[in-house]
Amino acid sequence: MPFHPLPAEDFLNRENELDYLKGLPLLKESALGGNVFLEGARGIGKTELLKQLYRSLFWESGTVPFYYSFKTANLKGTYFAKDYFTGFVRQFFSCVMKEPSIVENAAEPLQRLMPVIASVGLHWLVDCIEDFREHLNSNDIYWQIVAAISLPATVAQKSGKPVMVMLDDFDTAERLYESSLGDAHGLISLFGESMKNSLCPHVMTGSAGALESIFTDPSLVGMTERMQLGPLPEDLAVRLFKAHLANLKIACAPAGQLKFLAILNGNPLYIRNLAKAAWKMQKKELHEKDLIECYCFEVSEGETAFYWSSIFGRYVQSPAKRRGLLKLLMLSVENEGVDDGDRLVSGLYGTEERAALDALRASGVNRGWDPVLRDFIRCLYMKEVEGRRADDVREKIESNYLSEREDSRFELVIPMSSNAELVVAKAVEQIGRNMNFNADFLNHLQLALIEVCINAIEHSGSYEKKVFLKFITKPDKLEIIVENSGRPFSHDSRREIPVEESLRRGMTRGRGFKLVHAIMDDVKIERIGNRTRVILTKNIDERIVEPGTRTL
């Protein structure tokens, strides 16, 4: 199937919209409607809805689906025309033959397809291709674009089958140009004729409010209805998240412990990215605190951060201007709205930063300021303006959400040098005394930490040559986080080797983690980017504290 949609069972709560869109050819034929402008926040599932519609039409109906994404399109007229034209021919022929590989095999030149197209009697399509080739040869850019855009309507007339034209991120088409950016405003209006055709319903996606600004012809606005795609309701968001986790073989806490998911505002893209972050961080079981951790990774370094970062990249390229824009955005975020930000920074920033902000506004990026976008901006600001390290940024965001009371938190950084682990042992000895641990457990705790530190020092191959430790003491447990950059743990280093085998093979290593597991109640090993994080947890009970010192 072209464009790889989600499995139908994981595509939730969009049945009504899907059914309505499937019925568009009928509405258009009877002049009751026919073009839809699909609006909604980024990541809300507009593209996925188009893919599902495509799959459904491709296999189950007499309507030919055509999907074109302006997100990734080259907007130079000649490239666009060729891409749009060949894309349509492939998709149409693929649908006629019910052979998805025709679309997927984009490297095969159109010329090679022509004899096959002719062999099934589609001679008129061969003529269209020949005509287009003549426009190419005569270097007539205008007619290349017109021929490409009108091809779906032409094919619908010739074949007698309706063609559903799906134009993803259609407002980007406003930036189509001939030879240099901005030299040909209004090329987007060439879609008007195709949109008026009674056999060609159009479904376009774009940012909210963009419709009026992209069509100068009011009749086109008039014949296009808006469909607002909202967020998934809370229960379905949880269901979708759990479905993703199940696919990734991650166990999930009961729904009550997934309250933090609400921050994603029912956005399917965020939900999917968060599940993937849990997988990347090697979580085996997900509780509220893990969710927060994964979320902070996502908005600072994960796919969500990458997604937003690339969108920002479209509007401002130079690092200096980007910093200026970030300062503006940060003010907006902290003041709960762009207007406040405007007022506060009035006169402080250059016209280009303001222009970029206006472009962002027009694109709808910062409309509504969802909490994820806010956190992404906070992260980007801390990294690019304040120059903070990624893990520091993550921690700052995390601390906003960790509501659990922490009695105290100690941090320690040691160099990866010989006997540095003794410093850690000394530190944990004092922390343990503060917590009234008995001498026996203190020794065991020191041993466990020494083992984890030695492993980091000896096996990570880190260029940073530092091990970061954090001790979090709570009334009922001690949590120690040991983090370092470099190589991940090898499976061998975690494999238990019987003494007899060690004796036989003269092995003196490979037992450290056996000890750590025996001493601590929980040992988690996670990977965050190029860093390895070991989380050691010990529940505090009367067996490990001095008699009479524990009060419940």
Partner: protein
């Protein structure tokens, strides 16, 4: 727990050698312990007592180097006795599965008595 600089001393008690590891037992110091035992084994001593009363912090590599001494003594049908071990040390040896490959006594004299009796 003491974490002084590691050192190893020893003495002969009849036909047994008594070894005193002192300080942090890690990979480096574990090797000097192995070398010290190796010197006695080289001289034909087959009974070794390791007195852990002065041993401070340890790590798994340091402890595991004892495997080498165990293996060397096994090859010459010798015996290794460990004494004055803290509960922590005993627990750790147990966790690592080493305890069944050595004789453990509360004090040095108990071990020497056992080894003497073994000769008779």
């Amino acid at each position: 727990m003491k974490s002084v600089q590691f050192s190893v001393t020893s003495r002969l008690a009849g036909d047994a050698a008594v070894i005193y590891p002192k300080g942090y037992l890690n990979s480096l110091s574990g090797e000097s312990l192995v070398n010290e035992c190796g010197i006695y084994i080289g001289k034909g001593i087959t009974k070794i007592v390791v007195n852990f009363s002065e041993t401070g912090l340890i790590n798994s590599i340091g402890i595991s180097l004892l495997l080498q001494i165990i293996e060397d003594l096994r090859n010459i049908e010798g015996t290794i006795c460990c004494t004055n071990m803290s509960k922590f040390l005993q627990d750790t040896f147990e966790m690592l599965g080493l305890i069944q490959h050595m004789q453990v006594f509360p004090g040095e004299s108990d071990a020497l008595k056992y080894l003497n009796a073994k000769t008779v």
